[in-house]
């Protein structure tokens, strides 16, 4: 069938499309093979080939191969032209959402800021000055207000410029396209991305006004140095809000847009200056500024703040980058740790919080001076930390976390905390980690045992024997025996006396009477966040009786806070560096100006503890801390085992302050430091506490503690300790009975049997050392006698 039809189509001699030449060739072929088709002498080899389905198929494919590209290009073109008019925009990519958190002291002076490298600062559309709009349009897209998203003239111009320059010279992307790139399609350099960018630019122009597109562009564009958006750029380079930008500053910012890193004014001021002038010239060429404005702005060269001309000539002054530069690195570090514990990483570094703190620069300076004086003549790693807070509000006024923040950023004023997976909301005490591990408080822990005893109804006049050593009943092994410092022994002592002279053997008995777990619970309730209220150490073992001698680790911050509860008569205001925190929208996240205090200790118990702890300073182990306010100062010394940590924690009704001293790198003994052979809490730490508190309270009227309201109830008969667990906590602590001069002639004491050994403090002037007689038996050892003689 095909054959015949083909024959009809092709065999007509003289047909219009068969040449005579071809016919001759065909006949020649016919002669050779003697083959004729249908009797007609018209052999046609190509007809034979054409009859082959393979040949026909290949021919059809060839035709299709030519047509398909045309069809595809045509269809895509139609789609490209038609779709921008009707299509919807895809969802925008999230913008950089990283605002700077700013921290202020109590006077409203900014002391620190926390930020990520990349930041943005929201700006209102009305705040963007016309001069910046003009500068950006002139620099980036001079036909912005006339094109429809894609600038064909701009493309041609850029193409020609690239040809003339022999490479990439000028970009053709409009501001709209650049915004589309930032907000929708990304920076991928592919043909598909370019096509989509052009399409979306067209759609965007249909949906948004030119001003809105420009506003969005300026809010997202990258200006270098981590600044996304013109708000962050104005802040980082000029430290000013965007609405206050000058013409020259606006031109510099606009000049950064093409290559922010290359033209960084801090690292390449010459490049930034070149771009600034280029933009100014363009603005003048495009009649966006007058020649006068140009003449005025052009000489204002890009100048780094440290290179400011002294002659006062105008310049475009670029400020140094914001860093964590602060006069108060320890306090700022505390604020940062507190905020992280409370609100988490995202809020602190990117949330744009406004943080008003309780830092008192005057007290902070005095604290740093006291610590500096205490450490003068010594060297690292010997260190000291000091925390001072207002017990009535819990607000930390001053904090020193070590000798030198530049040398070590471990904040020794803070402790360590169990890992927190979530921020800790609420206004109760929270553990604020500082990079250290906390330190044993030694006898500075005893007031918590005393408070628990008083809560249980014991009297401060309850007596215990105070031998030089005491062995826990039913205890075998290491750590079963408690020694007094210097191995000094006493007869019977009241709790008041045992506290004033820090008698370990009395407190070893007392904690067994009141219960280790109850003491741990109270200490935690009062603010020692590192002490487990369940009575268990981090390793799961229960605290032993040595808890009362300071075996559990604490931080100076927690100690100041917990002692503050005594000063505040049993009411707790959790320690905080924060007065108020607001987020970037102005919403108040935390306001500690009117917190509800929480009662954690009976008022009269606190009053009794205050009364007892007054004696520590009046005539006990802490006389070096005497600041001349006999009825309004209380405190406690603490010396950890082997003199590895020395503390003085004390307070007045206005300030609670903890001082710690020790080696930051180890638990080496504090010996032979500044002429002190063995550093007890009553020596250098008490002196530093004294120096700080005397200066801090200078000019502040003394306030006395409220005396206990009623006589202590008769002491209950303590239950005999039935079982004494073997202490699992580290060994006991030591505190000297006194570290003050002894009287020349011991004064016999009345009352108890066997007689006690302490002279009532009322007989001792506050400016004079207290008079304490040695215990009647055993007598001082020769070494003790020598030491006390030296102390005199």
């Amino acid at each position: 069938m095909g054959r015949s039809s083909l024959r009809v189509q092709t065999s007509g001699r003289g047909g219009s499309w068969v040449s005579a030449q071809w016919e001759e060739r065909l006949f020649a072929s016919e002669a050779v093979f003697g083959r004729r088709i249908g009797g007609a002498a018209r052999p046609w080899p190509t007809i034979e080939a054409w009859d082959d389905p393979l040949v026909r198929g290949v021919t059809a494919l060839a035709v299709a191969s030519a047509l398909v590209p045309v069809l595809v290009v045509g269809l895509l073109s139609v789609f490209l032209l038609a779709s921008p008019l009707s299509g919807a925009l895809p969802a925008e990519r999230p913008a950089i959402d990283s605002q700077i958190t700013r921290v202020y002291d109590r006077n409203g002076v900014e002391i620190a800021n926390f930020r990520r490298y990349d930041t943005s600062l929201p700006v209102a559309r009305a705040d963007i000055p016309p001069v910046l709009v003009d500068a950006v349009v002139a620099a980036e897209d001079q036909r912005f207000y006339s094109h429809k998203g894609v600038d064909s003239r701009g493309i041609i111009r850029a193409f020609m410029a690239d040809l003339r320059g022999g490479g990439y010279v000028e970009g053709a992307s409009t501001i709209t396209q650049q915004y589309v790139r930032m907000a929708y399609v990304g920076d991928e350099r592919t043909m598909g991305r370019k096509l989509r960018e052009a399409v979306l630019a067209g759609r965007l122009e249909k949906k948004l006004s030119k001003d809105e597109i420009l506003y969005r562009y300026l809010s997202r564009a990258y200006f270098g140095s981590g600044a996304y958006g013109v708000g962050a750029a104005a802040d980082t380079y000029f430290r000013k809000p965007v609405k206050d930008l000058t013409l020259s500053e606006a031109a510099m910012l606009a000049g950064l847009l093409t290559a922010p890193s290359l033209h960084d004014p801090r690292t390449s001021p010459a490049d930034a200056e070149y771009q600034r002038v280029r933009v100014l010239d363009k603005m003048a060429d495009q009649h966006r500024i007058s020649p006068t404005q140009l003449a005025e702005a052009r000489p204002q060269r890009v100048t780094l703040a440290e290179d400011m001309p002294r002659d006062g000539s105008p310049a475009t002054v670029v400020q140094p980058p914001r860093t964590v530069e602060t006069k108060y690195p320890w306090f700022s570090d505390y604020v940062r740790s507190y905020l992280l514990a409370r609100y988490g990483d995202q809020a602190v570094y990117a949330g744009g919080l406004r943080v008003e703190t309780s830092l008192d620069p005057d007290l902070q300076a005095k604290a740093e001076a006291a610590v500096g004086e205490a450490l003068k003549g010594t060297s690292a790693p010997l260190d000291m930390a000091l925390v001072s807070l207002d017990p009535a509000t819990g607000q930390v006024k001053a904090l020193v976390g070590g000798r030198d923040f530049a040398r070590s950023q471990v904040n020794l004023a803070l402790g360590s905390c169990p890992a927190q997976s979530q921020p800790q909301p609420g206004d109760g005490p929270i553990c604020v980690p500082g990079g250290g591990s906390g330190r044993q408080p030694g006898s500075a822990f005893k007031p918590f045992t005393l408070a628990e005893a008083l809560e249980q109804g014991m009297s401060v006049d309850k007596t215990y024997r105070g031998p030089s050593t005491y062995t826990y009943p039913h205890c075998t092994g290491v750590g079963c025996t408690v020694h007094n410092a210097e191995s000094g022994g006493y007869g019977y002592l009241t709790l008041r006396q045992a506290t004033a002279y820090s008698v370990n053997t009395v407190y070893a008995q007392l904690i067994q009477d009141v219960g280790v777990k109850k003491v741990a619970s109270l200490a935690n309730r009062m603010g020692l966040t590192m002490v487990n209220p369940d009575g268990q150490q981090p390793n799961g073992e229960p605290y032993g009786p040595s808890l009362t001698l300071g075996a559990a680790e604490v931080s100076p911050l927690d100690m100041a806070a917990a002692y503050g509860v005594f000063a505040n008569r049993g009411m707790q205001e959790a320690a905080t560096p924060i007065v108020k925190v607001t987020d970037s929208t102005g919403k108040v996240l935390e306001d500690n100006r009117a917190r509800a205090a929480k009662r954690v200790l009976a008022e009269n118990v606190a009053d009794q503890v205050n009364d007892v702890l007054k004696d520590v300073i009046g005539h006990g182990t802490g006389t070096a801390a005497d600041i001349g306010r006999p009825n309004g100062t209380a405190g406690k010394t603490g010396t950890a085992e082997n003199y590895s940590n020395a503390w003085f924690v004390g307070y007045t009704p206005q300030l609670s302050t903890a001082v710690w001293m020790g080696y930051s790198d180890s638990l080496r003994p504090l010996v032979n430091i500044k002429g002190v052979s063995r550093v007890f809490g009553g020596t250098i730490p008490a002196k530093a506490w004294h120096d700080y508190m005397a200066a801090a309270l200078d000019g502040v009227p003394p306030v006395d503690f409220v005396p206990p309201s009623k006589p202590a109830p008769p002491p209950p008969v303590p239950a005999a300790p039935s079982v004494t667990p073997a202490p699992t906590t580290p060994p006991v602590t030591y505190e000297p009975p006194v570290d003050v001069p002894l009287p020349a002639d011991p004064v016999p004491l009345p009352t108890y049997s066997p007689p006690v050994v302490i002279v009532p403090p009322a007989t001792t002037p506050t400016t004079e050392p207290p008079i304490i007689s040695p215990p009647p038996s055993p007598a001082l050892t020769p070494l003790q006698g020598i030491l006390r003689g030296l102390q005199r």
Binding site: F33, R35, E48, A49, V55, A64, V68, F79, G87
Partner: protein, 77 residues
């Protein structure tokens, strides 16, 4: 790019296969003797050569179709 990625390998493979098979002498000719003059173009042309050409052209068309699909999805995305 898509066109090149699809078509160039197809051309290389097709030409290579036909050349090798032809050298081995195993390929049937398009016209095996009765219609073509000895030594004529058609006689020299292996049938496999046409198959290879068809394959290349099919790859070319597929490439354009793929380009069309990708282009449409890009533009409409």
């Amino acid at each position: 790019m898509l066109v090149l990625l699809i078509v160039v390998p197809a051309v290389i493979v097709a030409v290579g296969v036909v050349a090798v098979l032809d050298w081995l002498g195993v390929l049937p000719r398009l016209d095996t003797g009765t219609a073509s003059a000895p030594g004529s173009f058609l006689e020299r042309l292996p049938r496999a050569g046409l198959y290879a050409a068809a394959g290349v052209m099919a790859a070319w068309i597929v490439a354009w179709v793929v380009l069309f699909v990708v282009g449409i999805s890009t533009l409409s995305g």
